[in-house]
């Protein structure tokens, strides 16, 4: 008991603070020149602008042993680059719910606006965060007390999907497009639901649309060997049409080169029942659950390969100079990867659920996607791909974006 007490007493929290160069860093400077004392537990990392503070850095902070992380920049209206802090604010509005679903302790993640004139606020913020973190004890990222046994959680049965429809019309449309030479290939499905490429009108006979046809075929549009085939006819269920809308907005496809052959019916609003059920677990239980899930990830990147939105020529997981996230299939590397994958989908994921279906380790990535989809709907009334020509969610901002989490 006394040893434990002693350890508690000896604990000095480490706070990593990512601050912008123009406001908070100068605020810290002012605190220094004014001889305002604050705890030495904070490590300041100066970046040009909060708009350039990558969300990965929060995770990285915990990886390297931080007990709390602070992100701080200029007050709204004060940004040296006009709007960097507005962009940051919007991103954090979406990133925080993701961290909550993953079970991060949100009492350890702080956001503030501190201007160059607010030396005293800097002093106060650092003092308070340090004391609050001291009371919380060590963060112990990815190490759970009591062996961290994962809670048993099973998702509720998914909502019924609408019956597949439109197979016959699809076949005749495909045959017609191919025989008239309007397209040189139709991308559709075979009877097992595997993607299939029909290049002659008679090939259209074997195209199918049944319960097994779930692959998001828009994924093929990014590939140069597919583009080289010529004008493409695409069998397009509602989730595929949403993907086309997002890809078009992001200037990834030339819609004129694609003829859509619609099939199926929309299943309506996204289903958040599984997410609701999951969020009833306590944060540490959620973290323990994800640890057990991510431990199985071998980094085969099937989740990335099946996703039409993952079109980067070089994925952040493959950048090694410097390394952004670890490519190793360790718990730490896997958390970093899945957080990055999910957040890169913020406001972009069309909810086809293919990543979860494709995962050989059975990891329910849809929970992360649903978290971001719901945050986008609740906070911005935005659904990725729902409307052709809609502006992207991230990359723009509003002066009215909520900042109740920013001090």
């Amino acid at each position: 008991m006394s040893a434990e007490k002693h350890e508690r007493h000896a604990f000095e929290p480490k706070i990593v603070a990512y601050v912008c160069n123009w406001c908070t860093y100068l605020g810290a400077d002012l605190a220094g020149t004014n001889r305002l004392e604050y705890p030495p537990n904070v490590r300041l990392i100066r970046l040009p602008c909060t708009g350039r503070i990558d969300f990965n850095l929060i995770v990285k902070g915990f990886e390297i042993g931080a007990d709390a992380v602070l992100v701080s920049g200029c007050h709204p209206g004060d940004c040296h680059y006009t709007a960097g802090n507005y962009h940051a604010r919007r991103r954090w509005m979406l990133f925080r719910p993701l961290l909550e679903t993953l079970g991060f302790d949100m009492r350890r993640i702080h956001f503030t606006w501190i201007s160059a004139a607010e030396g005293r606020k800097f002093q106060q913020v650092i003092t308070e965060i340090t004391e609050a973190t001291r009371a919380l004890g060590p963060a112990g990222y990815l190490s759970l007390p009591n062996g961290g046994k994962a809670p048993a959680w099973t998702p509720p049965p998914p909502a019924l999907k609408p019956e597949p429809s439109g197979e016959e019309q699809m076949r005749s449309a495909a045959a017609q497009l191919l025989s008239s030479g309007a397209v040189s290939v139709v991308i559709g499905y075979d009877s097992h639901g595997a993607p299939s490429f029909a290049r002659r009108a008679e090939d259209a006979e074997r195209l199918c649309f049944n319960q097994q046809c779930t692959a998001n075929l828009a994924v093929y549009l990014k590939r140069k060997e597919i583009r080289a085939l010529g004008r493409i006819g695409l069998v397009a269920a509602p989730a595929i049409l949403r993907a086309l809308n997002v890809l078009e907005t992001e200037s990834q496809i030339d819609r004129e080169q694609i003829v859509e052959i619609p099939v199926g019916q929309s299943s309506g609003d996204p289903d958040f029942a599984a997410l609701d059920s999951f969020l009833r677990l306590a944060p540490e239980e959620r973290m323990a659950w994800w640890m057990a899930e991510f431990e199985r990830c071998v980094r085969c990147y099937a989740c990335r390969a099946v996703c039409p939105m993952c079109y980067c020529e070089r994925c952040i997981a493959e950048k090694n100079r410097p390394q952004a996230i670890s490519p190793s299939a360790t718990l730490e590397g896997n958390f970093a990867w899945h957080i990055a994958r999910a957040f890169h989908q913020a406001g972009r994921c069309v909810g086809c659920g293919e990543c979860t279906r494709a995962c050989p380790a059975g990891i329910n990535l849809s929970l992360l996607n649903a978290t971001l989809a719901r945050a986008a709907m609740q906070q911005f009334h935005y659904r990725a791909g729902a409307e052709r020509g809609a502006e992207p969610l991230i990359g723009r901002y509003s002066l009215n974006d909520k900042e109740d989490f920013i001090r």
């Binding site: 099973t154 085969c300 990147y301 099937a302 490519p327 190793s328 299939a329 590397g333 050989p360 059975g362």
Partner: protein
């Protein structure tokens, strides 16, 4: 005398009690069985599924392995070379198509360089395989010279008799301490296994003659370029070596990733997915055979079962216009 499931679990429990590592099929969630390290013998799943979705290669070739650590002080690098002593490991209820992969890979890991990580783990690992009494449409062990009761790579082989008992065949002396009391003299008749689906010699001939063929732009075109096939394949063994946190580590890598062959110049000799699919087939059925005299495939079918677009070795081979 056959062994009861109960006795088998007792062997497993004793093994764990001795502080050793036990690997076996584990039901991780509904519909998913994986070979995994078992903390308790009761986690061992013996029936009710065809085969685990991954392979046992991780027992000897982990997805992530620290080769050595180092310390950098100023301009000096100090190597912290620790003696590598793997945990004694028992792989229980491995499928014969998993066990056979290890001797197929031995020559590779001992070719121009003796890989001590592989060799020491191999030496520390005992494999008790479980013969298959069933198969599915993705299985093709009989097409690559194996069978549902192949003993290759196994130290002992069990066969389910159906009454919670298993017939036992001891294959090597390594399994003696575990199964000595249970050996069966009369081995039950085996089911036939999956029908032969292709002749590897025809495949090899096709691959030799058709490096540049429109065939590769057909069925393989749907490959999406993930590593699900390779990472769950008993025989795929490619790896990448990187430096991370003052350690040199080895991670699995796979030929279907575009990055696998990307040069520093930006040139990629295998720049499209069909070329990468061709490489996978060439390596398995021609290159490895020419170099080591073995087919780099045990017919387990994991590639197809794990593929997000139902594309495995077998689908490509069956689409081939050969004999």
């Amino acid at each position: 005398m056959s062994i009861s499931a109960q006795d088998l679990l007792r062997i497993a429990a004793d093994w764990i009690a001795q502080g050793k590592q036990l690997i076996g099929p584990k039901r991780v969630k509904p519909g998913l069985v994986l070979y995994a390290r078992l903390k308790d013998a009761s986690e061992l799943a013996l029936d009710g599924f065809l085969r685990p979705a991954n392979s046992i290669k991780e027992a000897v070739f982990p997805r992530h392995e620290v080769l050595y650590r180092y310390r950098v002080t100023g301009g000096a690098v100090e190597l912290l070379d620790e003696e590598f002593a793997p945990a004694e490991t028992l792989v229980l209820a491995a499928r014969p198509c998993d066990a056979a992969a290890l001797p197929i890979l031995d020559p590779l890991f001992n070719w121009d360089y003796r890989d001590e990580f592989w060799n020491r783990r191999r030496a520390a690992t005992t494999i008790i395989a479980l013969a298959c009494h069933t198969h599915d449409e993705h299985c093709f062990c009989t097409s690559v010279g194996l069978a549902p009761d192949a003993t290759r790579g196994a130290d002992a082989l069990l066969y389910p008799l159906g009454d919670a008992h298993f017939a036992v065949r001891q294959v090597t002396a390594k399994s003696e301490p575990l199964v000595a009391g249970y050996r069966d003299e009369d081995w039950p008749a085996m089911p036939a296994g999956p029908p032969v689906k292709f002749d590897p010699t025809d495949v090899q001939a096709f691959l030799e003659a058709n490096f540049d063929s429109p065939f590769w732009n057909g069925v393989p075109l749907r490959c999406l370029g993930c590593g699900a096939c390779a990472y769950h394949c008993p025989t795929c063994h490619c790896f990448d070596i990187i430096d991370e946190k003052n350690a040199r580590v080895r991670n699995w890598d796979a030929c279907q990733f575009a990055l696998f062959t990307l040069h520093a110049s930006g040139h990629n000799p295998r720049s499209t997915q069909p070329e990468r699919q061709r490489q996978r087939l060439q390596h398995k059925f021609r290159i490895y055979r020419e170099k080591f005299g073995e087919i780099l495939c045990t017919g387990c079918g994991n590639c197809t079962r794990n593929c997000p677009v139902d594309l495995g070795v077998l689908n490509v081979l069956e689409a081939m216009p050969h004999g």
